[in-house]
């Protein structure tokens, strides 16, 4: 039997017996086979001694059971590691940050507590996936949309807690920002409710976020200060219609004005849906089209002349390619805009957008889709489903075997730095990261890479770094990944989210004033969780007794 580090076999046995008394023996896992199910399927340390593995797992169904488990963990100093659905692939999966922890698996807490149509919110438990919530809403024919990330099997709460993003309107796309109210089991075992939920018999827990006094919800995300057992989210009332169109620009220099115009239109709420950047001439598709390319491999079909010209691109620029684009009517840059709302409103929003982009000389606008909602479910796969609030697993075409990718890797780790929302920053980041990636032998930032627009005020790159079955290659990519993080930091850029194996490197970038932020996180940890039982090491927050040790 595996035993958590620093825990005697006798104490561990007692703790396991106590866990079993709470959840039932079949929901406490200790065998090698069962614990292997908690390995990170995309671990860059796959089959190496440093791979972070669980010593046990315990799966409660209620908040009360979580409280009891946390109390038992305090009594025996058992390190717990909380997961929701365990599907955070590319960002750590279901494996603990501190190897040897007991995974607190909340998948069985799968109740949808409320979906309120009139006030457009829901309250869910951590084991509820986007598929579960979507199906519930469809079955009950409720006129509300959820905002989903690409893989629909993830946890609504888990994704928000790791600050993931989605694809509908701006005010729903940031999944942490769109939450309203939490129930948290503290490391002491007490239950806390945030915001208006702190009022007994609260009537507006999901309608007003902050309550009165310090608003503490943020400290529970990307951290280890509590176990969130319920969370509310604001939902979008089902829109009447959907419009999607492209703005295409023909010149390299147009990128700056394109981004500037987009920012203006988003910040005045004219363009509300997920804006998606592409560069047809550079062979780079927008996020919403990537799955189409991977499914069919059609982007391999660029003519040889075009392919050869791609080799002349430096930091996004190639006068020869630009001339080729003009000759063959292929845009240098393209932004896909999407709109949800009453038809007469979204048509007007589109027209206003077109008028603003028309300032860019030679730019062209084209409506791609215009449809009343809801769409016929049979037509959903004609769209990038998440832009219509429909969960899918189609995005896995990007990593899976496909015509484009006949010899797939074993998984991937996401390199995802935040950069400013300017054309200049896109070019500069490509210059910096592609030079570094070339030198490090990393298969990233090759010809040119565009960031994604999940958030209104910043760009984020989302790049898949392959995980292979070869430890030497994985080592090279891990080390390269860490160097890219550090190089980003030197330029003032940091990751928005990362897997446990990179959390120390990423948090080291956030070092203003001698790492005062990190020291503050640890001060909080000591006060809230003196025994250090919850998710040790998550986002590099270690309990006192583990500081300075290797994970």
């Amino acid at each position: 039997m595996r035993t958590p580090p620093g825990v005697s076999p006798s104490d561990y046995s007692k703790a396991l017996a106590a866990f079993a008394a709470v959840v039932g023996p079949e929901w406490v896992f200790t065998s090698e086979d069962d614990l292997d199910l908690y390995r990170d399927a995309f671990s860059p340390f796959m089959n190496e001694p440093e791979e972070r593995i669980a010593s046990g797992a315990v799966a409660p169904t209620t908040t009360e059971q979580v409280q009891e488990i946390v109390r038992i963990a305090n009594r025996f100093k058992i390190p717990l590691y909380t997961i929701s659905t365990g599907k955070n692939l590319g960002y750590g999966g279901s494996a603990p940050a501190y190897s040897g922890s007991v995974v607190l698996d909340l998948k069985r807490m799968n109740k949808i507590i409320e979906v309120n149509e009139a006030n457009a919110y829901c309250v869910v438990e951590p084991g509820v996936s986007y598929f579960d919530l979507y199906n519930y809403i469809q079955e009950k024919k409720l006129k509300v949309w959820i905002d989903v990330p690409d893989p629909g099997w993830g946890s609504v709460i888990g994704n928000a807690m790791d600050r993931g993003g989605g694809y509908t309107q701006a005010n729903y796309r940031n999944h942490f920002d769109s939450h309203c109210g939490m129930e948290v089991v503290l490391p002491s075992g007490e239950v806390l409710r945030t915001g208006m939920g702190a009022i007994p018999n609260a009537e507006t827990w999901q309608q007003y976020k902050t309550g009165c006094g310090p608003w503490i919800d943020g400290i529970f995300s990307q951290s280890n200060y509590g176990v969130v057992t319920k969370m509310g989210f604001w939902l979008m009332p089902e829109p009447e219609a959907y419009l999607r169109g492209t703005i295409s620009c023909m010149h390299f220099e147009d990128l700056g004005p394109l981004v500037e115009t987009l920012n203006y239109l988003e910040n005045v709420r004219i363009t509300g849906g997920f804006p998606d950047l592409g560069a047809p001439l550079l062979g780079y598709g927008p996020v919403g089209q990537l799955q189409l390319f991977f499914e069919s491999g059609t982007h391999l079909a660029l003519p040889p002349e075009h392919m050869e010209l791609l080799a002349t691109v430096k930091d996004g620029r190639s006068p020869a390619l630009e001339a080729y684009g003009r000759q063959h009517d292929i845009p240098y840059w393209q932004v896909w805009l999407s709109f949800h709302g009453p038809m007469e409103v979204i048509e007007a929003q589109w027209q206003a957008s077109v008028r603003h982009f028309a300032k860019i000389k030679g730019s062209r606008a084209k409506v791609v889709d215009k449809t009343l909602l809801p769409i016929n479910p049979a037509d959903a796969d004609k769209f990038h489903e998440p832009e219509l609030g429909i969960p899918a697993l189609r995005a896995f075409s990007i990593g899976a075997r496909s015509p484009y990718n006949p010899t797939p890797s074993k998984g991937h780790m996401w390199f995802s730095p935040i950069i400013p929302r300017t054309g200049e920053a896109i070019i500069e980041a490509n210059k910096v990261f592609s030079a570094a990636a070339r030198e490090l032998g990393m298969p990233l930032f090759r010809t040119f890479t565009l960031p994604a627009c999940f958030w209104e005020r910043a760009f984020v790159f989302i790049l898949a770094t392959p995980v292979t079955t070869d430890p030497a290659t994985n080592k090279k990519y891990r080390e390269g990944f860490k160097k890219l993080i550090a190089i980003g930091g030197e330029h003032g850029w940091g990751e928005y989210r990362t897997a446990p194996v990179f959390q120390e490197s990423v948090m080291n970038v956030y070092s203003f004033n001698n790492h005062v932020l990190h020291r503050f996180h640890e001060t909080l940890k000591d006060a809230i969780d003196p025994n250090g039982i919850l998710s040790a090491g998550r986002y590099n927050i270690w309990p006192n007794h583990l500081r300075g040790k290797d994970a």
């Binding site: 069962d34 399927a41 998948k107 189609r394 896995f396």
Partner: protein, 120 residues
């Protein structure tokens, strides 16, 4: 094992699954009901027919027409193979934990996916 015995086994699994947890309803008398429900929830999003399902696309490319890319059409799946794949994963498909697909559900899924496989 003959067909009669297989349906008895599947029926027993079905009853066992119902006693352990509430599952969505399905056609009565369908011995593979539980397996079908588990398949629909956990497998279909990647393995239903069509290249918009990455598992199906992957198998089409892997087998190049030698056999279908659609798991439900395979006639050589054994329950043991299905159970191994679900608990170990393959390529970018991760393994599934018992809190996602319980052992009882997995047996039902395996029996369902192996339903077309001739018994020796």
């Amino acid at each position: 094992m003959n067909k009669f015995h297989r349906s008895i086994t599947a029926g027993a699994l079905w009853a066992a699954a119902l006693s352990l947890q509430a599952l969505p309803t399905y056609a009565e008398g369908d011995a593979h009901g539980v397996g079908n429900v588990v398949y629909s929830k956990w497998c279909a999003p990647c393995h239903a027919p069509g290249i918009t399902h990455p598992g199906t696309n992957a198998l089409m490319v892997k087998y190049q027409g030698v056999k279908s890319g659609v798991l439900l059409e395979w006639t050589d799946l054994t329950p043991m193979y299905v159970e191994y794949m679900v608990r170990h994963g393959i390529s970018v498909m991760p393994q599934f934990r018992k809190t996602e697909i319980s052992d009882v559900e997995l047996h039902a899924l395996a029996a369902y996916l192996a339903r077309n496989t001739p018994q020796s």
